[in-house]
């Protein structure tokens, strides 16, 4: 038996001695979270914060600690990009004029753009249900384009902005047709 051990161990080394681990973290927004770790032998479900799996020859479950995470992953976590953020700006009826309140809110968007590294943006325009649906498709696009220009002026590179219109097809407040609903006359801006 002893005779075989060195060869056995060498074989294991040749098979690769990658040491791997996976740790589930608490989710920042409190949403339920989970990861399933699967290798050739088995499957481990991580479904609680700090539930972890460790693999060396075979995979086992264990409970990681906050200090374990900080020690091993501190550098990676410190380099995490800023979380994406979303703003909704509202328009006066029938055109691409922002409401007075939303003009003020736009200032916050400008400040965030100035702070973000290599900011990219997604702009989605919407309308209420007043008017023909084809006209609203056009108007939602006009609103998105108006905001795109504001974002370019605020410093986002033009080719890093995607602006689309969704017409009256994606109402924030569901209404019947031909309803003047201020909350549906909007543009959603997502910064990342």
């Amino acid at each position: 038996m002893n005779k075989f051990q060195p060869a056995f161990l060498l074989g294991l080394l040749l098979a690769g001695c990658a040491n791997e681990r996976v740790i589930l973290l608490p989710s920042t927004d409190g949403r339920p979270s989970g990861v399933v770790v699967r290798d050739a032998q088995r499957e481990i479900v991580l479904d609680k914060p700090y539930a972890a799996s460790r693999r060396w020859l075979s995979t086992v479950a264990y409970d990681a600690s906050v200090s374990d995470v900080e020690e091993r992953f501190g550098d990676a976590l410190a380099s995490r990009p800023e979380w994406p953020s979303t703003y909704i700006l509202y328009f006066e009826s029938g055109g691409d004029q922002l409401t007075a309140e939303s003009r003020q809110a736009l200032q916050k968007v400008r400040e965030e753009i100035a702070r973000r590294a290599a900011c990219e943006a997604m702009v989605i325009g919407h309308t209420d249900t007043v008017g023909a649906s084809s006209e609203n498709d056009r108007l939602s696009k006009v609103r998105a384009e108006a905001i795109r220009e504001e974002l370019v002026a605020a410093g986002v590179a033009a080719d890093k902005i995607e602006a689309i219109g969704r017409g009256e097809g994606d109402l924030l407040v569901p209404t019947a047709d031909e309803v003047d609903e201020p909350q549906n006359r909007r543009v959603e801006i997502s910064l990342r």
Binding site: N19, V22, S27, D29, S79
Partner: protein, 151 residues
Amino acid sequence: MIRTYRLLACAIFAAWPSFSALAADVAGMVKTSKGEVSIERDGQKLLAVVGTPVLVADRIRTGSGGAVGITLRDNTLLSAGPNSLIVIDKFAFDNKTQAGNMSVGIRKGTLSVATGKIAKRTPESVDFHTPTSVLGVRGTEFVIEVAGNDE
């Protein structure tokens, strides 16, 4: 003979934009970069500074003092610590329909992940993998380490 070469050069030149358009499958962008960080693409090594686009099939490598943060187009946040090698094997995302899929590999080092819109909508179309294991993801934040692997 020279004319033939010229023709050939012209043909290659004319075809070039379409080649690069095909290759330019943008998956995300470098948002943080510290120390030695590079992207290996088509056999070339590029410096991964803040603002560098990350394409499908890119290999992102950090040196011993390096760390990098990348935001993918579906708002997935990836960040790697020192001595890491991360590969974007697949990434597709349609902003209008929110449909997409992704597959990201960690060959060595440390990777932190905060999943984005694809994982929220269709978690089954997202996977992360190590040299020995595949991670199925229901969300949202987790870390992976691969030590002692020589790629």
